[in-house]
């Protein structure tokens, strides 16, 4: 099962990763190599097995519905790479 350059580009696009041509080539090889190494997993019969869930917490714990004023809202905005007033600014979204 060879991972093609097209596959790599499709996956890189989904992951929003810019890859150089070299990186593309290398990753195609890496993914191929890694997935081949994992091919043994296909041999395992997993019928009847449920996917794993955390051992000790069977049900989602529920929080009561009270609103708490977040104390650090301003401090969080300070991390913004680009801001206009209290709004985060991003480059234009081309639909």
């Amino acid at each position: 099962m060879a991972i093609t350059r097209d596959e790599v580009r499709r996956v890189a696009a989904l992951a929003r990763l810019h890859l150089s041509a070299d990186e593309e080539a290398r990753l195609a090889g890496d993914l191929d190599h890694i997935l081949s190494a994992f091919a043994t997993l296909q041999a395992l019969d997993t019928t009847g097995l449920e996917p794993m869930r955390p051992v000790d917490v069977a049900d989602a714990p529920l929080r009561p519905d009270g609103a708490v004023n977040p104390p650090a809202a301003d401090a969080l905005l300070e991390q913004a790479p680009d801001r206009q007033g209290r709004l985060f600014h991003v480059p234009r979204i081309i639909e």
Partner: protein, 490 residues
Amino acid sequence: MAVHAALADLSLREAAARIRTGAMTAVDLVRAVLARCDERDERLGAVLARGDESALAAAEAVDRSLAAGGDVGPLAGVPIGLKDNICTRDLPTTAGSRMLEHFQPAYDATVVERLRAAGAIPVVKLNCDEFAMGSSTENSAFRPTRNPWDPSRVPGGSSGGSAAAVAAGLCAGALGTDTGGSIRLPASFCGVVGVKPSYGRVSRYGVIAYASSLDQVGPVTRDVADAALLLGVIAGHDPRDSTSSPRPTPDFAAALDDGVRGLRIGLPREYFVEGMQPEVETAVRGAVDRLQELGATVTPVTLPHTPYAIATYYLVATAEASSNLARYDGVRYGRRAESSGGVEEMYRTSRGEGFGTEVKRRIMLGTYVLSAGYYDAYYVKAQRARTAIAADFRRAFETCDVLAAPVAPTTAFRLGERLDDPVTMYLSDILTISANLAGIPALSVPCGQDAGGLPVGLQLLGRPFDEATLLRVAAAHEATGDWPERRPPA
């Protein structure tokens, strides 16, 4: 400076006791730790950030409080190092990545809050593989950390900075994280104690996520009793972490000296792999023999699904990681690349520049594994295989109380040795990942050194939430030797 040197070598327990009685001040201890960083970190490369001012201020506060007769916590005045994927509100938190190079959270991780509540003082942020992805700390975007026992070698990873710092005497205790062996492997390579608690024992809130269903925070210390103390401070239910167990935290130190008489130790045959470094096998089997002499019984066990563990781990971990790292998009914090195009270009460029090779590789693998057409064959399959692996352990624990095994097939390898082939690097984890997959607790405790003086770790694995038994066995083993006193060459 000899006085200072001695202070930095004190165990956590001893340091806390002396500060409490006034035999020494917290300020002196913090100064000693900072001085050690000055002296030794240049060679080591373990420290990414230091909080000299904040640590000294906190130390002064502890000293004042004690002088006024106030109540202080069990770790009052004791400086602790934190792996740099653990959020600290007064120190930068980079996760070893250029993506977060200038990030300083406005909040503490829960484990940091608990340390502070116990009086402990976060003093340094410690190097790690980028986003905790790696087994050698060579994937840090900033610099590799060197093994204090041999600077041409890796300290292990991903918590290499934590293990190296404790081994080199920078600080007596540190926190690391373990997703596939990232506390145990560096602990083994650096000759210190490292504990991965049961999944759910310690809160993950504020810990930069790699693989959500596998990550745990744990202590790295010079001896077992310190590990028990530090674990006790950070463990316990956190309402901010929906996967955290509601179980009450036992006193992990209570049974430490109970010995191993009557305990049943299992040796999983699949963990004594072909091609293991002979000295590793000798040291581990020797440790088990000594435990037998102390009254434990030893039985061979089998964990038949072990061959599937590497694939299972990397498929699940990278899938979750690919999703967890999607938030690093340059919009609200972290690195944003200069770009003249629209937002899509900004995403691609910021992430392309901000993430290193291994992180990109794992994001790509994880994205592929989850994508349409592959999800069932890879991700679902791996999650089911996990259940089989967990069942292997359950069965083994029907006849055993703990399992003993090596931590890794070798001692520390050389810097650069395994960077060419990702699969080779991944195989470093082969003996540690199953514990994460099954959610069971496991630790590494030093048990020997190879001919080159490189440490060998003994791995102990236990039943879910039975850290106490692991620590008890580890303490009994530790008492048969002098590993806590061994120091790497200065």
